[in-house]
Amino acid sequence: MPYTFWMTSRARKAVPIFAAFAVLATACNLDLTNPNAPTEEEVVSDLNGLLAVAVGMQGQFAQAIDDYMVTNSLVTDEWGTETKALISYQSLLTGENFDPSYLVVSAPWSASYSVIKSANTVLAGADNVGLGAGLRAGTVALAKLFKAMAFGMLIQQYDQVPIDVTTEGSLPQPRAVVMDTILDLLESARADIANVSDADLAGFKSRVAGTGFDLRNTIDAMLARYYLMAGRYADAFAAADRVSLTTLSVLSYPAPTRNPIENLAFQLGYVAGLKSFADQAEAGDRRPSYWLNTAIPGPAGNPDSVLLFLKKYSTPQESFPLYLPDEMKLIKAEALVRSNSPTTEALALVNEVRTQTSSPVDEPVAGLPPVVLATQAELLAEIAKQRRYELYEQGLRWEDTRRFGTALTTTPTQPFLPIPQQECNTNPANPCG
């Protein structure tokens, strides 16, 4: 009597039991969160999360300065490699056997896009988490500034880079386009805080900004730096003129963080300063001994370069200045010379740099006698030389070789870094042709 089973009352009651279990069962929630780490959705929709990303973004930039410096300082005449250095470092120094798959090629690229991604996250979420006007203005301006600085680092290392940050990858854009993006970001950042009082920025300073960081001055300094690179001299002069010369703006490295240049030069022992930097300085120039330890012999080099230990950045907690006051004077001088203004004012600015003997802030002072120079070419050569000694290992030397050309005594071993191999392989826009 097979199917008559379904007719029994007991059987009919079995069905709801099963159904009841089934209903209970479907109540099981499978949308778990990750208890070990917040997810992007959680971060961008929460005030504390978003501010933490803004902090993390500065940390990403601060931890990447060695990546920017390795390429800049090794392809130019700033650093040499110690015997322990990786082959790729030696390759940067000598220009030989260079390979786009080297980590030194991808490191500045990857680091910059990490910063840019964080900045984009902050900018996208800033209006959704209930930030007060002052806190919002400061945080947004900061994100724009760091995004601009990351792009700025990129175009000093690669001659074309993508602007859109997407998981799929986008086509690299020429330098001029990227430069416009940088300047737009910086002007926009400046506008964001132009009418915000320092009192209203107090929350931003205590919760987001790093110790010793000055938002307004850094935005103006970066405007000056990138207007100059873009050839917009009047704008560069105006921006540089707004920067206070009696304060510094730095990335600080309290424990447990560590200055990455110190780590690279001492903990890892990969790099040291080239002794030629000190040897080629004008007699009496006090700046080589500010940057390098000229008192003792340096480490052995490979290839057999003659090296000196770094002096600046020789302790783990030393901070890194985002710009130096004398860079502003030299920007102004260069802007004047390049815009064919009378040379008097430019010469005065150069001599201010040459003759400085003391400073209220931690910066190199030359202590040299003034010079008298008449021609534009002479002035540019002098500005280039002053930039070499004022702005050692600030990540600017490579770009200087492009702008000053024959006014310098050095030629970089690479014109630019190639696009990293992983980007070539994975970006469907085929950035490597």
Binding site: F18, T26, A37, G59, S106, S110, S114, K117, G210, T426
Partner: protein, 1005 residues
């Protein structure tokens, strides 16, 4: 009717839907089952009333009782592994008891064995299109020297490669069923005990073998916790076709373990105890030359090469004969609808390395109570407490055996009273004698495994079953490295990670069996399963310790915490149809959802189908064919399963903590989340036949399978301009193809002598068919690589430079003004003209085939001898131990160098880079082991009766007593990377499996 009221209450509590149970006229069947030739009782035989779900299992004295049998004519059948099944028709009268005894005849055919396969209604093997291997409990419980259930499977099942990874007591076991099915995920099967999914994690909480930065595999795996004595039966579901019921957790197969239950009747007591002696099968053959060699000058303080020196072989102070004891008591029985099994066990074992030991105390209670004719509830509980004292080995610089192979024998490690300590090791991290004397690395586990089961059978054709299981454990590891033990600057460190793990599963199954006419039967099952695995790990650690400190403390303390959770929901439906008791069709669907899948891929469907055709039931088979084949069936099955993606939170875009300028910050992980992550998916086709010859005295089981696993999760590089570096995507694929053959024979069956054999052969070919790019070489740990077109985990590394004729090329190498003619490393010239060190595929750790040969002899009625040989053939082992022994002048071969028999520094710190020519250290790991040998003597029952016992056995047994191999290291079976999926076949100062000898006594009362 208190009972009924209780049922009502329970049911009402669950669903607020009261049910009235009706009475029915029933009787009882009881009897005893014996072996026809020896007259011995057959325990654990299945007795069933056909056409109903009623049944029982025989008690140790062979007796059984089935109550509640509907009155009238009933077919009672009995089955037991190794015996031909019997069916007898009886007439049951209401409210009376009928006695029906059975005398069973030996047979090699196992087709009638009942298997559960995870569905509510048990079925027989002959009805299934896929193979399910069954291992009876007595083979597990009585396997000599076996301390863990998985270990007992060695040599018993086809299609499996089972390795003990380290010979330390409590050391882990790795099982590969039909090959390796993942790359980044786990490859160990899913274990289920009485329907409860149990954890078999092998995550290293402290690094004692491989470093945490490599696979992070522990010396132990958690199946070590369960007492083999409680096992009644193991069913091994090898492929996707069989394991599909477990859906997205079953890619590596499923091992189902069933524990003993009580049978109706008087209490059966059993007690057994055995003493085991463990010793090392082999020691390192060390350089004992009376003259100094190169490394003796460098590290041993010898004045010059050739100078007379003293040497020390400290292996006497490291190896020992470890004594162990294994004792187990159990009581089982039942009456008045109650049945019970209670077991308690103690296992204590001293390892072959001094200071290593393992002990485990456990008890188990399995209770079941009939509340009415329709309703039965059961409770199972198993509590385990274990302690393993490990010592570091493998690549740990503090490893004891590691130290032996790294340290020239001219170094004397003995305690120096003037220094007040053991001298520091001139080569490696620690002095091995100090490590054994003062360091400690215990692992403590407290575990509770419980299951609650309720079965409701409103009519004999329908069964509703509910099961709720929990596996809850706490595992505490400690690693104490005392201050000043490795150098004067070392201030000590202690790690004390604690892991809490809870696995919960909840199963509901509804089965409906109908037989519309005698030739047609249907069995329909619906089921639901919910699982929740939660793991929390708290890692406390301290440094700058005070003397004598054994707990976390000291000047520097750290603690971290992590948590993981996986939830799955599965629905399944299965239909089985039988036509004329010869054609059996099975079809099933499984919908699985998992919290680890991306939301868009949440619901996954896994279908399966099977066909079994029992040809010997056809009328045309009778006659000629049946004279040759006493039984024959063809089978075929296809099925799909899944594997959880490695990394339960890989679907999320995660942020990680950072610190900038003293402020807490968050940065995006460089690994992008993948919201489309889905399971690794496997499809298996399997086919074969089972044939019985000579009136079922011989049986062949033959299977072919072809498995393809796709959607393997791999790390894909992303454009760095995305701000990410990589993402986990379902992209890889691999195949496993193989053949399995088992031959069971009853060679002799006479009243005073019987002999049975089982021969198994399995071969598996693994091939990687897709990676991110076809030229990818994914290197894991040392040498194991994943390369398209190759088996998983092939050895890939440096090779010798060779002459055009293929012989090894020698080149002069100038060292300190001396020119030495040595073999050199092979080079490759790239397209760019650059010359690089050549790397090649130099070996394959996957065996070409595995085989086992088991023999059982009965000599008279009281003497039983079993012998099991187990072998692995054609696999390579990377002998990293030999590499280091030679490099540091520790090996016996270095004596040749000292005596001038070979070029200086052929071995010792070879200046031509010999240690990077890995080709040299790949050896053939083929072995055959005398895995088990056991002689059982049954004592005179008449004499025993005076003590109230009805059975007593004296047993003399051995495990791994002999290994036949050309491998030059201590043991070709071990693996430094333990349960690692890809890194297999690496021997690096890994403890060999002990040679075990045991004597035991067991009694049944």
């Amino acid at each position: 009717m208190q009972e009924v009221r209780f049922v009502r209450l329970v049911v009402a509590l669950i669903v607020s839907c009261p049910v009235v149970a009706a009475a029915q006229a029933t009787g009882t069947i009881r009897g005893r089952i014996t072996d026809v030739s020896t007259g011995a009782p057959v325990s654990s035989a299945q007795v069933r009333v056909e056409g109903t779900a009623l049944g029982a299992q025989t008690a140790p004295d062979g007796s059984y009782t089935i109550t509640g049998v509907p009155s009238g004519s009933q077919s009672v059948s009995t089955r037991h592994v190794g015996y031909a099944p019997q069916t007898i028709t009886v007439t049951v009268a209401p409210s009376s008891t009928l006695t029906q005894d059975f005398a069973l005849r030996s047979a090699a055919v196992t087709l009638s064995e009942v298997v559960v396969t995870g569905v509510a209604a048990p079925t027989t093997k002959r009805q299934l299109g896929n193979t399910i291997e069954t291992v009876p409990g007595e083979q597990v419980a009585e396997a000599p020297g076996v301390t863990a259930i998985d270990q007992a499977l060695q040599g018993r099942i086809t299609g499996a490669v089972i390795s003990e990874n380290s010979g330390q007591p409590g050391g882990g076991v790795s099982i590969r069923l039909r090959g390796t099915n993942s790359i980044l995920g786990g490859a160990e099967p899913l274990y289920v005990i009485d329907g409860v999914i149990v954890d078999n994690s092998a995550e290293a909480l402290v690094s004692l073998s491989g470093n945490a930065t490599r696979g992070n595999q522990a010396l132990s795996n958690r199946m070590a916790d369960f007492d083999p004595s409680d096992v009644e039966r193991i069913e091994v579901l090898k492929g996707a076709a069989a394991a599909a019921l477990y859906g997205a957790r079953a890619n590596n197969g499923v091992i189902q373990i069933f524990t003993k239950r009580g049978q109706s009747g008087r209490p059966n007591l059993s007690a057994s105890s055995q003493v085991t002696w463990n010793s090392t099968p082999k020691r390192y053959d060390l350089n004992m030359s009376p003259n100094a060699g190169y490394t003796d000058v460098i590290y041993g303080g010898a004045p010059a090469i050739g100078a007379p020196i003293q040497r020390y072989d400290i292996q006497d102070q490291i190896f020992r004969t470890g004594v162990g004891n294994d004792t187990h008591f159990s009581v089982s029985g039942g009456n008045g609808g109650t049945s019970y099994y209670m077991g308690a066990g103690y296992q204590g074992e001293d390892g072959i390395l001094r200071t290593t030991k393992y002990n485990r105390k456990d008890f188990r209670v399995n209770l079941s109570q009939s509340l009415s004719d329709q309703f039965e509830v059961g409770l199972r509980a198993n509590y385990i407490n274990s302690l393993a004292d490990f010592i570091p080995e493998g690549e740990q610089t503090q490893g004891v055996l590691t130290s032996v192979i790294f340290t020239p024998t001219s170094v004397n490690p003995a305690f120096n009273p003037n220094l007040g300590r053991y001298p520091y090791n001139p080569v490696l991290g620690a002095n091995p004698l100090d490590v054994m004397a003062n360091w400690s690395a215990p692992e403590r586990v407290t575990r509770l495994l419980g299951g609650l089961e309720a079965t409701w059978r409103p009519v004999s054709s329908i069964t509703l079953r509910y099961l709720s299981g929990v596996d809850d454990y706490r595992r505490e590891d400690t690693y104490l490295q005392p201050p000043f033990s490795t150098s004067a600057n070392f201030t000590g460190s202690i790690q004390n990670p604690v892991q809490f793990s809870r696995l919960f599963n909840n199963d509901i199954t509804l089965t409906h069996a109908v037989t519309p006419n005698p030739n047609l039967g249907f069995n329909t099952s619906f089921g639901f399963r919910y699982t929740r695995d939660h793991t929390e790990t708290v890692r406390a650690a301290g440094a700058d310790l005070g003397p004598g400190q054994t707990l976390v403390g000291g000047a520097t303390q750290t603690a971290t915490q992590s948590e993981e959770e996986l939830r799955t929901v599965g629905w399944y439906v299965e239909e089985r149809a039988s036509v004329g008791d010869r054609l059996f069709l099975t079809g099933g669907l499984n919908w699985d959802e998992s919290s680890a899948f991306g939301p868009s891929q949440r619901r996954q469907l896994f279908p399966r189908a099977g066909l079994s055709y029992v040809l010997d039931r056809e009328p045309w088979w009778r006659g000629t064919l049946s004279n040759v084949f006493s039984s024959f069936r063809l089978r075929a099955a296809v099925g799909e399963t899944g594997g959880q993606p490695p990394g339960l939170y890989s679907r999320f875009a995660n942020y990680v903590n950072t610190s900038f300028s003293g402020k807490p910050g968050l940065v995006s992980s460089i690994t992008a989340g993948n919201p489309n992550l889905k399971p690794e998916r496997q499809r298996e086709y399997e086919g074969g036949f089972d044939a019985g010859f000579f009136h079922d005295r011989a049986q062949v089981e033959f299977s072919l399978y072809n498995k393809k696993t796709t959607d393997l999760v791999l790390s894909i590089p992303l454009p760095p301009s995305s701000g990410f570096q990589q993402q986990f995507q379902n992209i890889g694929s691999l195949t496993n193809k193989g053949v399995e053959l088992a031959l069971n024979t009853v060679n002799v069956t006479r009243p005073n002598f019987s002999w049975r054999t089982r021969l198994t052969y399995s071969a598996n070919r693994n091939r990687i068919t897709n990676l991110v790019t076809s030229s990818d070489t994914l290197l894991f740990d040392y040498l194991n690589a994943v390369i398209v077109g190759q088996p998983i985990g092939v050895f890939y590394g440096g090779v010798y430079a060779r002459n055009p004729d293929g012989s090894i090329a020698y080149a002069p190498v100038t060292v300190s003004g001396q020119s030495l003619l040595l073999p050199v490393r092979g080079k490759d010239t790239l397209a760019s003209g650059a010359i690089v060190n050549a790397q090649r595929i130099i070996g394959d750790p996957n065996p070409k085939f595995v085989a086992s040969f088991g023999n059982d002899f009965d000599l008279g009625q009281r003497v039983h001898l079993s012998v099991l040989l187990d072998g692995r053939f054609g696999n390579d082992v990377a002998n990293f131990s030999r590499r280091i022994e030679e490099l540091f002048g520790v090996s016996k071969v270095v004596e040749r160098e000292i005596s001038g028999d070979t070029v200086a520094r052929t071995f010792s710190l070879n200046p031509a880079g010999r240690s990077l020519i890995y080709e040299e250290y790949i050896e053939d790991g083929t072995f055959v082991k005398l895995r088990e040998i056991a002689l059982d003597l049954t004592l005179d029952p008449a004499w025993l009766g005076r003590f109230g016992a009805h059975e007593a056995k004296l047993r003399v047994a051995g495990r791994n007593l002999k290994t036949w191999t050309d491998y030059s290291g201590l043991d070709p079976e071990v693996n430094m990377f333990s349960a690692s999926t890809v890194s297999r076949g690496v021997d690096f100062a890994t403890t060999p499996l002990p040679r075990q000898f045991s004597i035991g006594l067991s009694f049944k009362f």
